[in-house]
Amino acid sequence: MVELGACPECLRRSWLLAALGPYVERVATGEVGSRSPELLRLSNEDLVQAAAPKVAGQLLARVEALSEARLNEELLLAECWACCRHGDLYPEGLRDAADAPWALLGRGDRRLLDGLEPHGAVTIVGARRATSYGREISRELGRELARAGMVVVSGMAFGIDGCAHRGALDGGRTIAVLGCGPDVAYPASHRGLWRQISESGLVLSELPPGAPPWKWTFPARNRIMAALSGMTVVVEAATRSGSLITMDLAADLGRDLGAVPGPVTSRASAGPNALLASGAHVIRDAQDVLDAMLGPGQQQHSGSPGTATPLDADLRIVLEAVEAGGSTCDAVAAMTELPVTTIAAALARLELLGYLTYTSVGTVIRTLHSGHPA
């Protein structure tokens, strides 16, 4: 048990879940009572009966037959380690959840879990199909929260998740929770990000090495993300989005909810805007997250307003035009009376000062920064 870091019984549960992958896929429908996190509350026997009654005995026997040495070998081969609900390393936050995973398999720096309290971590979730606004905010939130010492938890998906991780890698510590084995880079085009996180952060999963993702494993990993942190922030999500499942799960656990406001006309911001209407914390920058989690003024964040240097008149006019929605040089020119050459130069300076950033198609977006980047 010392060698494994988790008791074999808990680990076998992980292997059982992987074996049940295709069967649970058929049962989990999203209806109340048959959502994957609800199914995962069941004991081994009940779960197998519910998901795969015909082959129940066979599956259970196969998993029971896995020896401690075999489990150990599989973990070593995949360069993973494990912890279970009976161990010290198991995160405090997960103990609150009735459907908490029995064991967690990790790849990367296990010290990130050491003493990880919910109030030391923030989960950032959001749509895979994110706008450049959402991606930029997500990156900034990830970076600034990591700089402020928070562990940034996300799901390594396209869009918001990936940007939150990238930002956090810039600033500090991050945990990716996967819906597949911790040694599987999914989505495949994020394998570079996966490698970076498993080297300088931590990749977690409740599934054994090599396990492929199923549809049901994503809401299942969302419950881990929600439980790990004290606050879950949604950056962008449509009204029927998997990210909102995470918010529901976090709310069930009594965690704080935060949402980044967006234009009321934007479909991508419909989810967070609806959450705001029902009372979620308004998240404009990292400081809002810190204030909501730790109490106002408990921790001053370095990149907060107040440290900004005053801007020249031209820069201020151009910045205001960008904030009012001008995303190209021409749009800013139409909103201000300035010559286009002045605007171009001002945009370049604002970018240098960290107020703006450029998208791949050459439009500008306002960053969360109000002052010099550190």
């Binding site: 006309t265 995303s327 749009a331 171009a344 130069a345 240098l352």
Partner: protein
């Protein structure tokens, strides 16, 4: 009873005659010697020496032309050899030379001067001549080969007369060779084609572009420094309109450049009624193949890149182009020439053009900020992948284009092309003064770029950005080149802080 008789050896020796002509290889003329051998035997007419189908069919044209001009077609065994035998001959341009050599071999045309001239031209069945492609290059090549004059169809006379130092003899029919040989007729040298005005009346003018000051400025900078430009914006925002107005603000072609352009146009059969004074503008459709874009095939044909030599190559819907076609443009963009390897050797075609490209922000064209955009992240990523590919690496300027507002569209026309062009020409002059004739800032080597005089504040700005690692080495040089163009446009002797900042804003960024 029949006996088999052996034919006796010919008592009359065979008669040989030669004439000089050319075949077109890409846009270059290659000298060809026509040798005609007429001797006894079964009447036969063969052409050897790697002829293509058009050359092989010269047999029928030449036979009919000779008979219809009142000559006699020798009923003997005729062999035409096109030397050098290893070079592929293409096109109908050798008809006239084959006919002249054949008439000379059958002693119907006694012309001592035949060895001193080159003949090119296609023959009609009635013996009249038809124009051919590449007469300008052929006339120049004839001069290099030491010919005194070139005999060619009257329609090609004006174009060949552009080549100085060689006689140009236009003929309208095969029969006129007789009068030439007798020396009782010598046609006047045709007038060389006139230089056309660089802007034809009614051509698209930049005044049509209303509002959109940044786009106008980007066009001006691109034209002034020869920088490649990428415009990204929703459909209908004016990208194609802007690109089409670019030739009207580019400086007129220098005489030597105009001749280069004319040579290419002549070889492709596109030379009109005069020497082009304005710069070529080519806008190939996005379904074009790699060979169509850079040239290729057998025999080698010039591609769009070569046709855009000294002008503008506009790739609308850049992301819709086939990847292999875009990849094929990389090396030519860098070196200014296309080289095509064939069994017969390496051929190179000139292609120093300005690349202008336009693209939608995503496959549906609305852009991700639009709530109606239905593109999936994977689609957008794959689409944008072409924007960040190796070709985009050669692009200096990126202009984000937006729909002009109603007020702008209904507003007054913009500054006309002539005014912009004056500034562009002044900036180009400064560049030529600094870099040498015909060169522009976009072609500066990194060493030349770093030698640009920089004010202290501009240097500090660039160094600041570079130190924060927001700039790659290549992007650093790109920013310098752009800033130098902005300084040239402003008439400044060194790059100021304002120009540096503008250049940093206008450059294409490296991230995807």
């Amino acid at each position: 009873m029949w006996t088999i008789c052996r034919s006796t050896p010919p008592s009359v020796p065979s008669v040989l005659a030669t004439a000089r002509t050319f075949t077109l290889d890409g846009i270059a003329a290659r000298p060809v010697r026509v040798e005609v051998d007429v001797h006894r035997g079964l009447p036969n007419f063969t052409i050897v020496g790697l002829p293509d189908a058009a050359v092989r069919e010269a047999r029928e044209r030449v036979r009919a032309a000779i008979v219809n001009c009142g000559f006699e077609f020798p009923l003997r065994r005729i062999v035409v050899n096109l030397a050098p035998a290893s070079l592929r001959k293409a096109g109908p341009g050798m008809d006239l030379a084959i006919a002249a050599a054949l008439l000379s071999a059958s002693e119907q045309l006694e012309w001592e001067g035949l060895a001193k001239v080159a003949l090119i031209g296609e023959l009609a069945l009635d013996g009249s001549t038809r124009p051919i492609h590449g007469a300008l290059a052929m006339a120049e090549q004839a001069r290099e080969g030491g010919a005194e004059a070139i005999v060619l169809p009257a329609e090609n006379g004006g174009e060949a007369a552009l080549a100085e130092g060689i006689g140009v003899v236009p003929v309208e029919a095969l029969g006129q060779l007789l009068s030439l040989a007798a020396g009782d007729w010598s046609p006047a040298r045709p007038e060389p084609l006139p230089l056309l005005p660089s802007i034809s009346p009614g051509a698209p003018d930049l005044a049509d572009l209303r509002g959109q000051p940044h786009l106008r400025h980007a066009l001006e900078v691109a034209a002034a420094g020869g920088h490649s430009l990428l415009m990204v914006g929703p459909p209908g925002a004016g990208k194609s309109l802007a690109a089409g107005r670019l030739p009207s603000i580019l400086p007129p072609l220098a005489p030597a450049e105009a001749l280069e352009v004319a040579r290419i146009a002549s070889a492709c059969g596109r030379l009109g009624s005069g020497l082009p004074g304005g710069r070529p503008f080519r806008a190939p459709h996005h379904t074009i193949s790699a060979a169509g874009l850079v040239g290729g095939g057998q025999p080698i044909r010039a591609g769009e890149a070569t046709l855009a030599h000294r002008g503008v190559l506009f790739l609308d819907e850049l992301c819709e182009f086939r990847r292999d076609a875009l990849e094929a443009l990389r090396a030519p963009l860098e070196s200014g020439e296309v080289s095509i390897a064939r069994v017969g050797g390496q051929r190179s075609l000139p292609c120093r053009f300005m690349l202008v490209a336009a693209s939608n922000p995503c496959p549906c064209g609305r852009g991700e900020a639009d709530p109606d955009c239905t593109c999936t992240p994977y689609e957008v990523q794959r689409y944008g992948g072409k924007l960040s590919g190796a070709l985009a690496d050669r692009i200096d300027l990126l202009a984000a284009v937006q729909q002009p507002s109603a007020a702008e569209i209904g507003g007054s026309p913009g500054e006309p092309s002539t005014a912009v062009r004056e500034r562009v020409c002044a900036a180009r002059e400064r560049q030529e003064h600094r870099l040498g004739p015909g060169r522009c800032n976009a072609e500066m080597t990194p060493a030349e770029g770093r030698a640009c005089p920089l004010s202290d504040k501009a240097a500090a700005l660039l160094a600041d950005l570079y130190a924060r690692q927001r700039l790659s080495g290549r992007a650093h040089d790109r920013a310098l080149r752009l800033a130098q163009t902005l300084a040239d446009l402003a008439g400044a002797s060194e790059i100021g802080e304002e120009q540096m900042a503008q250049a940093l804003q206008m450059r294409r960024r490296d991230h995807g």
